[in-house]
Assembly symmetry: C2
Homo-oligomer: 255 residues x 2
Amino acid sequence: MSSTNVMNIKELKQACKACSLRDLCLPLGVSVEDLSMLEGIISRKRPVQRRDVIYQAGDPLTCLYAVRTGSVKTFVLTNDGEEQVTGFHLPGELLGLDAINDGVHPCTALALETASVCEIPFDRLEELAGRTPGLQHQLLRIMSREIQTDEHLMTLLGHRTSDARLAAFLLNLSRRFGMRGFSRHEFNLTMSRCEIGNYLGLAVETVSRMLSRFQEQGLIQVQRKFITILDADGLREIAGIHGHDARHQEQASGH
Amino acid sequence: MSSTNVMNIKELKQACKACSLRDLCLPLGVSVEDLSMLEGIISRKRPVQRRDVIYQAGDPLTCLYAVRTGSVKTFVLTNDGEEQVTGFHLPGELLGLDAINDGVHPCTALALETASVCEIPFDRLEELAGRTPGLQHQLLRIMSREIQTDEHLMTLLGHRTSDARLAAFLLNLSRRFGMRGFSRHEFNLTMSRCEIGNYLGLAVETVSRMLSRFQEQGLIQVQRKFITILDADGLREIAGIHGHDARHQEQASGH
DNA sequence: CGTAGGATTGAAGCCGCTCAACCAAAGTGG
DNA sequence: CCACTTTGGTTGAGCGGCTTCAATCCTACG
């Protein structure tokens, strides 16, 4: 909802019911009457700016956050102080699920660009989920999906070469943008090469080189942050995805 | 509950209430009266033998499984047919959480040794969780913990050298054995070097070499599958864990 | 006792990292 | 408005860690 000072009634009314993300986000599969309950506990925060912190590692868990617009990265700091990116998050995705375990956020969430997020008080969500089977199921599903995603990323990090990782990363982004109504073929990378490399376990230079090579091979076109995918099948080949069952395969992001 | 043919009354009585794992498993923090309800839906299966399949990739999700004794590995088959180990599971840990998302098990669970598992029908668990706030919370916590664990493993795979990965793996196993009342200092590896390597994204030979090197350095003693940890702090050093905050750090396993 | 699978050890090669220089774009301050 | 700085990205050269390939050893088990 715009900002706290400049209230915008029209946006305020844009509750889950009318939200274009409802088929991606928490309300998926929740009945209309239950949806009203959910709306009751969700507040739409004012937009956050690039590099704004949404929550910080060590913060107590009070809310989960749903990305509405923009994009967000999450990362942990390892004991020797270096950053490890754990995910990039697009509209409709839920942040903070890893904090439920001990009630403290293990990672920091940072806006990659101007973004807006919905705040969902966790205790109220939990209580509501107890009274709303559809919501409980959806919550479990979302957490399960995250576990699945992480498993795929583990495969990528453990067993794939740099080109396969990057190809899978691009395909995954492409698919996720597509699901959100954006183009699958051209999109902006909101994260830096450095953040991509960190996420994929590669050096920045390697990311840069691979992007150049993909471009040479006519698979993509790179214009700074703007990526055009010219040959998705070619990328799938490199990513080690052999047709059909490519549902979850185009992993490499998404927490 | 023991086997379907040979009923064993004594084992039958070993419900969650009396189970030594209750502080590790699902019932943690669930009140005594709620516990009876949980017991009502859980059945104890007969022991499975080494290499027995508990569930297979592609199977529809009917039950979650709690390891009671023994150990289990889970793995996915990549499109080119090779195996990718996603976790090793010790008593008190829950299997199958990654299947909730789309109702189909994405991975296969296989007993590494003679083991016994509790079967928990998922639909009934879900229904019970809706009526039992403590249980719902615990279920969410377990899933959240798994996400956290996976995040740590991602860090390991993406940013750590082979020695750090193996050291972290050994420390993680040590801690988990310790929590279950076994010795932290000596234990059997129920998985092969090959499976460890696969899990950590390393070649078998590297695992073998690292174990030998750790032994040379006086950090551990290796007698085939039997490991004795001589210098846990030394291992922590290598794993990149600098004291204190080593709660979740000793990751590298555990799904 | 012999075989097979797992584990260890050695040698060689390659992928990706590190180091370093250079470039482009976007701020920043006078 | 321009010079300077900063940040992020690209490209090249050399190195090193891990993999691959291969041979041998060991132990469990028929």
